[in-house]
């Protein structure tokens, strides 16, 4: 691979690495797992870089989401999630009830199957449309809607808030 492409790849990681890491952490809830996930996705991206570099970010995101879903299916406890490490800053700024709700929701979110969690992360972190989420996950829009609906039914049951979310918007 030419040096210029390697430089381009390095620049891409410097620019977009943090954003990708945020997505990975929202899906795994664990810093080490998130780093591993991003690193694996970037390695795959680099191995195809001459072909995909013009649309690298979309490619890496797709790998990120799909690798997480696949890893969750195949692996065991190494994909454990950590839910206790909540930053003090966030807690201090919010009302106790709100914090309790968010902690409950966080635990419920991390207990969802990976595909459902990936759908919610795309919709609520990245504000992606149903169609964009479907494209990134390599599935049909109807699947996104159904996965989101089922996730929200489960969250509702676990967290106890009964207001329907706008899953199909």
């Amino acid at each position: 691979m030419k040096q210029s492409l390697e430089d381009e790849f390095t620049a891409f990681v410097a620019e977009r690495g943090q954003s990708l890491l945020r997505i990975a952490h929202a899906m795994t809830g664990d810093r080490d797992a998130a780093q591993d996930l991003v690193q694996g996705a970037l390695a795959k991206a680099y191995s195809h870089w001459p072909r995909i570099h013009s649309d690298a970010e979309a490619y890496v995101r797709k790998i990120l989401y799909n690798d997480r879903v696949s890893a969750w299916r195949k692996a065991g406890n190494r994909n454990e999630v950590t839910v206790a490490d909540v930053p003090d800053r966030a807690n201090r700024e919010r009302h106790d009830d709100d914090v309790a709700e968010r902690l409950a929701l966080r635990e419920a979110l991390l207990s969802l199957p990976a595909r459902q969690r990936a759908v919610l992360v795309m919709r609520y972190l990245e504000d992606r449309s149903v169609e964009e989420t479907a494209e990134a996950l390599g599935c049909r829009p109807g699947t996104v809607v159904s996965q989101a609906s089922r996730a929200l039914v489960k969250l509702r049951a676990l967290v106890g808030r009964v207001t329907p979310l706008e899953a199909s918007r």
Partner: protein, 345 residues
């Protein structure tokens, strides 16, 4: 709004990601390794691509659904019975309440004492067997299916990874877990699990294959999908398999998804289905005629052992006859309202 709460929670999680260190250097090294390995794997990949050709499933076209209007609900709602944590609570049809989940606590019926006991805080969800003897429990830090014996308190973490919903057979002896390429059946009494791989041609699934138990405890069902175009697909039938062997028994001309648990009537004549995009809209279908017998808008529903249907909508439990007629309606006591409830059969 919970919409905002969920958005804030997801963003909180993202904010805790930390700073990336050395990502580019490590990715470059790994990327080079992948490229090297790919060269040596080219021949094997080409062969695999040839073998991966799947056989399309042909499912006979079926006549259009004929729906029958739901009989008028003239049954009044009975007042809520009292709930005591030390006694078994029974729903319409005399079925026992097996578990109660709220945002922080999980209670399960103790088969020895007949009361409800709280499970440890690490348990985030529970799926009790319909006989109330055992439960599949989910812990916040584990993705393995774990079986809890509710009489002894002993738990067994299986080697099976939970990838989707789990479902108990009607007799409570086995747990069905779907995978990408088939399913696993766990037999808690024998502490063993069996994996079954299904031929790719039989796995025309809606993105993820979700098997469910069918009538009785020997058959399982899997919705089959046909593509209408590049992005669109529809459920074109439901395949049933012999659970132990994974052998296809028949293709049912049902164009909707069976619900997760206890979807078929005990005699195998009726099926509770949902639409993919509206999981709370339930249709009761007569399998032979594909006729919609009744339509419910409920949070959950299930067939009971006597062939009636139990469903919950808000704070009311309703039992329906196999004709769709309302048999009885009972309000939930305040202690159970807003909780996630699981009843036996």
């Amino acid at each position: 709004m919970i919409d905002d709460l969920l958005r804030a929670t997801v963003r909180d999680l993202a904010d805790e990601s930390g700073t990336p260190h050395g990502l580019a250097a490590r990715a470059l090294a790994d990327g080079h390794r992948i490229r090297r390995n790919r060269r040596t794997a080219t021949v094997a990949a080409a062969l695999a691509a040839v073998l991966a050709v799947t056989v399309p499933i042909v499912i006979a076209r079926t006549p259009a659904d004929e729906t029958r209007p739901l009989p008028a609900a003239t049954v009044t709602v009975a007042p809520a019975p009292a709930f005591k944590q030390t006694e078994v609570f029974t729903g319409p049809g005399g079925v026992p309440l097996l578990s109660i989940e709220d945002r922080t606590k999980t209670f399960v019926l103790n088969p020895k004492t007949g009361g409800y006991r709280e499970l440890p805080a690490g348990v985030v969800w529970i799926e009790p067997s319909p006989d109330g003897r055992r439960a599949v429990v989910g812990r916040e830090n584990s993705e393995k299916v774990e079986i809890l014996d509710l009489r002894t308190g002993e738990s067994w973490r299986t080697a099976v990874t939970r990838t989707s919903n789990v479902s108990w057979s009607g007799d409570g002896s086995r747990v069905l877990v779907s995978h990408e390429t088939g399913y696993s059946i766990i037999e808690p009494a024998r502490r063993r699990s069996t994996d079954r791989t299904i031929e790719p041609g039989q796995l025309a699934c809606l993105e993820f294959c979700e098997f469910t138990w069918f009538a009785g405890d020997t058959r399982i069902a899997l919705p089959q999908v046909s593509k209408l175009g590049e992005q669109e697909s529809r459920v074109s039938g439901v395949a049933t398999f012999e659970a132990n062997s994974g052998t296809v028994i028949e293709q049912l001309p049902i164009k909707a998804l069976p619900i997760d648990q206890f979807s078929a009537s005990p005699d195998g004549r009726l099926l509770l289905t949902r639409q993919n995009q509206s999981p709370e809209q339930i249709s009761m279908i007569e399998i032979a005629s594909q006729r919609e017998i009744a339509h419910f808008s409920v949070a959950w529903s299930q067939f009971l052992a006597d062939g009636t249907v139990l469903a919950q909508n808000g704070g009311i439990l309703t039992r329906y006859a196999a004709t769709g007629a309302v048999l009885e309606k009972v309000a939930l006591p305040p202690e159970l309202t807003g909780r996630h409830l699981t009843f036996g059969l």
